[in-house]
């Protein structure tokens, strides 16, 4: 088990320079989630306008894997319609950890394939999914006063 298989250049690049990690000036949705085992914390802010998530900010205080996952998630999902997000987000975890998936799923998540390296390190799966839990919670957590 070579740790370099997990900490590959793409993951490390996202960790070093996370995308979409600046707080949003205007946000419509917000959630904070934590991993009780290590105290890692993710803040997800969304700017939803009309049907679409125009902007995502994902700020991760955590390990390389949590940071890279948050960065890749925000970069990939930004601009999606809320409906599309709601349809597909539940399938991410299955795609992450299972071997068989449809061509459609493969196409949706292709840009995140580096995260599937965590399959060989199952104790780190929660590090990947933390930001995604934050995104799901943010979608159902409108910030009324700021909308």
């Amino acid at each position: 088990m070579d740790p370099r298989a997990l900490y590959d250049p793409e993951i490390l690049a996202h960790d070093r320079d996370p995308r979409c990690s600046q707080a949003l000036e205007v946000r419509t949705h917000y959630a904070r989630v934590s991993n009780p085992l290590c105290g890692d914390r993710v803040d997800v802010e969304l700017l939803v306008s009309g049907e679409h998530v125009k902007a995502i900010s994902c700020q991760v205080r955590g390990c390389v894997i949590a940071r890279a996952s948050g960065s890749m998630m925000a970069e990939r999902m930004q601009g999606w319609s809320v409906a599309k997000l709601m349809t597909h987000i539940g399938g991410f975890e299955a795609w992450l950890s299972q071997d068989d998936h449809s061509a459609h799923q493969q196409q949706i998540w292709a840009a995140l394939v580096a995260l599937r390296r965590v399959r060989s390190f199952p104790t780190r799966l929660p590090c990947v999914t933390l930001a995604w839990t934050g995104l799901v919670q943010a979608l159902s957590s409108p910030v009324q006063e700021e909308a």
């Binding site: 900490y7 250049p9 290590c38 105290g39 890692d40 390990c63 390389v64 390190f121």
Partner: protein
């Protein structure tokens, strides 16, 4: 010594195993496992019930284990209660005695070093009894601020709940001093000894506490068995926290339950018989080696560990320096402990990363989590060299050049 521990015979991720999480659980020597196997085979019977030979033998072994625990703590065997572990022992005191002791406005003192298991039961009890939970602070050097102890005690202090050896930093607290001061205000002293018992002698007469709790599995014994020692007068006053078979003198539908004598009144139901017998075997094994050689070996190893890790750029060792025992926590600049632990695991090195069930300690030190290295009797300098080699590689694997 390594050969006595079958767990160490395996290869993990292609490497021989370096086990540095004895504060999580200590590995079990073959002798202990053999005794437990016998308890499940040749002597498999319930205790204190059967009139047949098997049960008589199991009962004798079980009660012999109580004497061994008593020998370890140098107390009377009828002050030893078997539980499921330290957590159950501490909850038992909080529920069984703490509820009786606390009235509106009374105080419980815990320390900032406590494992959650010696904090949460008292926290809940204080809410229930409208009592006040006070917290003796931790100094930046990893020791409790014992010089301020008297400021935290008052005539309303009913309980002082404190750990003997910190599971997160390895700090040893002077229980004798704490007990002395606490008794001066009439408080009961409850000690979490889970981490201390494997590393140092714990003779109750020397400590002066009123309750002492520890677990079998951190003492080279089985999981799921623990001990609560209490002073006879407090045990007499304590309510049993669970009711059932084996702890009654007589029961009828109209009269309810009349509890038997201590310690059996606290051991309702079928206990972890093989666990208790295994714990007895672990104590035999440990006392045959003796604490003096264990302490000497671990002190030397800890000093080598500190020396080797102290030379690594960007690595900080937390806590109490040379006085630590068994446990060393560290943080690495710009490197999350979970990433470090994953990389070390890939090299066959088992260490713990996280908050070690002591979130207030981490908060106090301004960190989220640490990497914890903890020693057992089977560790050697070769293990420490492997650890240091592994730690030195972490930075390059994570692409953080220095």
């Amino acid at each position: 010594m390594r050969d006595a521990f079958p767990t160490l015979a395996q290869r993990v991720n292609g490497h021989s195993l370096v086990y540095l999480d004895s504060a999580g659980t200590a590995l079990k020597p073959t002798g202990v496992l053999d005794v437990m196997h016998r308890a499940y085979t040749d002597e498999c019977a319930t205790i204190h019930r059967g009139l047949y030979s098997l049960s008589t033998r199991a009962t004798a072994r079980f009660e012999k284990a109580r004497e061994k625990v008593a020998q370890l703590l140098r107390v009377s065997a009828d002050e030893i209660i078997f539980t499921g572990g330290t957590t159950e022992s501490l909850n038992a005191v909080a529920w069984g005695l703490g509820r009786q002791l606390l009235q509106d406005g009374d105080e419980v003192l815990v320390s900032e070093l406590e494992h959650h298991s010696n904090l949460l039961p008292w926290q809940r009890l204080c809410v229930e009894r409208r009592a006040i939970l006070r917290v003796l602070p931790l100094r930046c050097d990893g020791h409790l601020a014992l010089d301020t102890l008297d400021d935290y005690l008052s005539c309303r202090t009913r309980v002082v709940a404190i750990s003997h050896l910190s599971n997160s930093l390895g700090s040893v607290t002077d229980i004798k001093y704490v007990a002395n001061r606490a008794h001066a205000v009439g408080a009961v002293v409850v000690v979490d000894g889970a981490q201390a018992v494997p590393h140092m002698p714990t003779h109750m007469a020397d400590l002066g506490a009123d309750f002492y709790a520890f677990s079998g599995h951190k003492l080279y014994g089985p999981f799921g068995v623990g001990v609560l020692w209490g002073r006879a007068e407090y045990l007499k006053a304590m309510e049993p926290w669970r009711l059932g078979g084996g702890m009654v003198r007589s029961v009828s539908h109209s009269e309810g339950v009349i509890a038997a004598e201590v310690p059996h009144r606290f051991e309702a139901g079928t206990p972890n018989i093989a666990g208790v017998i295994g714990l007895g075997a672990a104590i035999d094994w440990l006392l045959a080696i003796g604490y003096a050689p264990i302490e000497a070996h671990e002190a030397e190893l800890m000093s080598v560990t500190e020396g080797a890790l102290g030379g690594i750029d960007g690595l900080s060792i937390l806590g109490p320096g040379a006085t630590r025992k068994g446990v060393l926590s560290l943080v690495m600049e710009d490197i999350h402990p979970h990433d470090a632990a994953t990389i070390l695991d890939s090299m066959g090195i088992a260490v713990r990363a996280g908050h070690h069930c002591a979130q207030p300690v981490m908060e106090r030190l301004g960190i989220l989590a640490s990497l914890r290295v903890s020693l057992g009797i089977y560790n050697s300098q070769a293990d420490i060299h492997r650890l240091v080699g592994g730690i030195q590689e972490i930075r390059s694997i994570l692409g953080r050049g220095r």
